[in-house]
Symmetry: C2
Subunit: 338 residues, 2 copies
């Protein structure tokens, strides 16, 4: 039996910052000033531009503390930002971690959250260079800013798809949505199949597609890119809208994990529609010109563990459509967080 963890208020803000700093390894040379000053100072990467993004996870909106671990929260808070950088073709360099925590937040959970964040940071070459800790009168809020570097003429933008481009997507679609369904159904993790656990893992600890995004950008293999934070349908629509085009996704090609498919079917929902609508997969979608397709697939071969699938086509006809054996239905509603 483990004694209950003391709360973060027992060691105060400076104690927490000291604890965080002890977990950090040596900072890379480009970090001129890291954690502990009014601001961090970075030496820019020679000949590169800076890609910068921010995204937050909020208790009660993006996660529940009783159904996920603090370590997963820390991981995911960084992962969703690295996914945005990957969608630009940028290489992560640094991140800021801003935490608003209830005063009774257990110190063990603080340590676990930091561990989840820092271990992904280390694996991805991201230096934690600063942040902010404050009290929250309500939910736990984890706000992260990530900074990466990208070659000036190699940035993958959301705008750029052309008529006749293929729509490609990495990984499986809808896994995170199935994972959320599995978790909220109350099914015990101990009773989940390996495939079901993979869906939950995609929801809780998504792996940003950093390497693939960077390679595609560097070899100029795509005309546009976006990440799947709000689902494949939303991503395809946004790529199309940015280019003032339409898009058609072939339902037969949408890569849905077997466990996710089984879960959707067991809930009497159409698995493809559910997968396309499901958010939080943090995969990448690309517009790839047919004459660059070989080049794009050569990037895929350099990431042998990553599934890469052609799922649709950009066309001049407006709208975003799901083609199920010749019958067209609207691909999605624009996703709103409100």
């Amino acid at each position: 039996l483990k004694p209950p963890s003391p709360s973060i208020s027992s060691i105060g803000e400076r104690g927490l910052i000291d604890r965080l700093r002890r977990r950090l390894g040596p900072t890379p040379d480009f970090v001129r000033i890291g954690v502990g000053d009014d601001a961090a100072v970075l030496v820019p990467a020679r000949g590169m531009q800076d890609a910068i993004t921010t995204d937050s996870l909020i208790e009660g909106v993006h996660f529940r503390r009783d159904s996920t671990t603090a370590k997963a929260i820390g991981h995911k808070a960084l992962a969703v930002n690295l996914s945005d950088l990957a969608a630009m073709g940028a290489t992560p360099r640094a991140a800021l971690l801003s935490l608003a925590m209830p005063v009774d937040f257990p110190l063990d959970d603080f340590d676990d959250l930091v561990e989840g964040f820092v271990s992904l940071a280390e694996r991805s070459g991201t230096a934690l260079i600063g942040g902010n800790m404050t009290r929250s009168p309500g939910p736990l809020v984890v706000d992260v800013t990530a900074i990466g570097s990208v070659r000036p003429r190699r940035v993958l933008e959301r705008v750029g798809a052309r008529k006749g481009d293929w729509l490609y997507v990495t990984g499986h679609v809808g896994s995170a949505a199935a994972g959320l369904g599995l978790l909220t159904s109350g099914l015990d993790r101990a009773l989940m199949s390996e495939g079901q656990l993979a869906c939950v893992a995609r929801l809780e600890t998504p792996e940003p597609r950093t390497r693939f995004g960077r390679i595609v950008a560097r070899i100029g293999a795509a005309n546009a890119a976006i990440d799947l934070s709000d689902g494949l349908g939303d991503a395809a629509l946004r790529l199309a809208e940015a280019a003032r085009l339409g898009v058609v996704v072939d339902a037969a090609l949408v890569p849905v994990h077997g466990a996710a498919r089984d879960w959707f079917v067991s809930r009497n929902t159409d698995p493809i529609a559910a997968a396309v609508a499901g958010g939080e997969d943090y995969e990448l979608a690309f517009a790839v010109s047919p004459r660059r397709e070989k080049r794009f697939l050569s990037a895929a071969r350099r990431c042998p563990d990553l599934l890469v699938t052609r799922v649709g086509l950009f066309a001049t006809e407006p709208g975003a459509w799901l083609d199920s054996g010749g019958s067209l239905t609207p691909l999605c509603q624009a996703f709103s967080h409100f």
Copy 2:
């Protein structure tokens, strides 16, 4: 009589982003990609380094929506970050605005918050390049990241004070604390004196000391700097600790605004002790070597509207002390947000 404002949920996330974008002017050339992609992309300033900081304002902790305006919240959320950049001697370039809002947050308040943020951004040459909007199940949370540029060998660090350096501070100390006291006392703003309103303004809409910080850095006039987010006492202690020195502040020299002094006295508190302990002034404190003092004061002359006062001395004797006519008392407790 004005009809009540609809809530933000009436126009959804994309509507809010469109509304925000319409308020933004043309982006400067160094913003290669601004609001609307997965990440922003900036062209680095030639020969400069990047200073990066993040800070958040949380309803119920840093402000109350019933006693301050949304415009002031938007202003202050950016100002506190610009203050951190100023303390490094950095020139602001860009900012990210991350908003977690209750679904019933009035659209008028959203517009006002954006207005407060963007008008300070414009005045300070800061481009709003991205951010994030999401629902909050509890408090309004405004999380901002600011990015500036600073000359490599001109960064003002927290570390660097030397034995015999003077402690200098900008502006008045304790005004924000007095302003908070005035607001929470329930005194109607319409009944406040001009001086009292100045204290409230310092609390609600602090002006970051960007120009002064930049000049001091550029001419190499200080050995160390910090901003007064948690009070002069805390700032002096941190500058001293970073240098493994002690510091003595002369109570007779601490610049306290007359209205703040009167307020503290009316509450039967020692005005100097209260001013030194009061946070949120967002002034700057510097360690200035006596042989650079002339240079430092030349920077002050270039900011004629800004009060700049010598208040203390760094010494080898450990500790941080307030000297009131020869009697020493501890300057402060380390401030903790928990």
